[in-house]
Subunit: 132 residues, 6 copies
């Protein structure tokens, strides 16, 4: 299995609902360093997992929706705790849509798996991985 | 598959038995930077892989048993070489016990896999991964 | 010159005033990975720059005031943009006070310089360094 | 599953064929930080995934063939784009041969999987993983 | 003293003249991860060392001249070995010109020092630091 | 001012004397990731701060004396606590001697400063810097 990983980041504010979150129930924020890992069994005709330029641009475009935002104010997250693992899944879903819509190029239709990892600090990170 | 990773570290002394270990047969030591990666298919009711506070505390408690110790002096390791990969398995077993005993909370009973990685330097690391 | 560095982190929300800040004028947030670098010409009687346990605890205590907070709501920051470089200075001032108040031990009174660095992402960080 | 990872690096020049590569069609280069991750179900008789000394030496020997080279001039790569993912596979194949030839010791014959990762920058990396 | 650091990277090919360079006399290449560290005594009126957006864009523009290039083919480097330390100085000089020309904004005219660091691998890096 | 940095590591055991060290009074150990940073005002005739090959070899030779050792057993450290900052100074002194003895080449006689940093974990490091 081949994989290619690109990295970008976002800076967001949010708060959590539920006693389990302790002080994180207060409005706070995070820098998420985001890794998108594209996977496939064989390389495409150009010897690539995916066009790294398109992959980086698309990741940036997906993240732009959340960058410099208070996630509590976004309608789609109403009723959800935007934990690191939840946001990993959210970004996975958007990237999967972008791949299937051909935004990463025709070669990218051969991708079989995707893993999104969000690093919230030097001592904690979370990810979601699934088939495409 | 979702995962959440937390990081801590220990500083230990030990020595190895067997010619294959060369100069590492002498008493020496290591800083192990330890990553515990918790995995599950779906998030729990709070939108979490695991309570990150409990996960960090439990990892610290498991590691405390070995921190600032000469592993050669611990009865349980008699007859074993406490290599990085061996210690990854040892810490895996203790964390698995802690999870099953409910020390990471009721939500953590939904975890399905665990991976423990020990970084012994910037150029070498080892891990053990298994089902829970 | 000797130095000793310890690392911790905080997760905060804030917003900036001024067109120069572009989208960062919106409520957003950051993980700041914080390095405190203590400096002196000669080691103390224990062969130390500073007691690393006290240094780490004091850094954590200083940071606790800001951790999981919306900095816009703190009275002391009214009228200021809590940029990364501004926060580096803020944390420098508090650590300097703690050192001079003896909270890092008597040996720490021999410290001559302090540098505080805040990493806001894998591609940007800021610091403030001064004499004690 | 146990794994052990060792790291080394090479510095190479190359150019790519195909409009999809944009400016990377020009002669340029890369530092590849290379991770070799050896995997197996059970440890060998010495409590090891693999002899870390032999693993490191063999990785260095495999990489030496490419280090300080213009990959465009190597006959075996004629007609191929030596992308990061392509080079991950190339190094995988050579390490697999070395393992099967016994160059990592008899214990290494128990290895079941290998993953080679090449980091081309702090924001991009690629890998190839397969059975041995 | 305040500082702000931004990071980017380039991928270049080159070769060196002189026996001291051994195998690096052959055409090879490098990924340079480039840190630009801007320094000043007091923050500007916006509470900034420098506008981080302009700083990042200008660094990218300065690096674009070298990115995906064979440095041996650039007229300005004829007769020079484009070592990592030499390139740190080259990029320093261009950034200093850009600052003095006002490309980082009027606030940036208050900068007093600049340090450029080029990481050529995980085990080697070089820098040039000077007054502005 | 130019600088060049090379990195290596050692794995040692030791124990500390004095109540201030708490559990670190027990036999334990550390991986020290060691950075040697060579500094000078102008490059030598080859466009170098120092021959990176000789610098790396000499650092490895200096570290070999301590690698895979119990520092408590070395006669030269009798009566000293081999703290991270103490070891930074010890390695500084040996590297300075090696430079002055010409082991890093004639060009290296132009070096004016040296900084040795020892990383004991991902959250703590110490250094010693001085003139040559």
């Amino acid at each position: 299995m081949y994989s290619l990983n690109v990295r970008d980041h976002i800076m967001i504010a949010h708060s959590f609902q539920g006693e389990i979150f302790g002080p994180a129930q207060r409005m706070h924020g995070a820098t998420y360093i985001v890794d998108a890992c594209f996977q496939r069994g064989e390389l495409d005709d150009d010897g690539l997992v995916v066009d790294i330029g398109l992959a980086s641009e698309t990741l940036k475009a997906v993240l732009a929706e959340f960058n410099f935002r208070n996630l509590d104010e976004l309608a789609e997250f109403r009723g959800s705790n935007t934990t690191t693992e939840f946001m990993a899944r959210t970004i996975f879903d958007r990237m999967a849509l972008a791949i299937n819509a051909g935004r990463l190029g025709k070669g990218a239709l051969g991708l079989v798996r995707l893993k999104i990892t969000l690093h919230e600090s030097h001592v904690a990170w979370a990810s979601y991985e699934g088939v495409l």
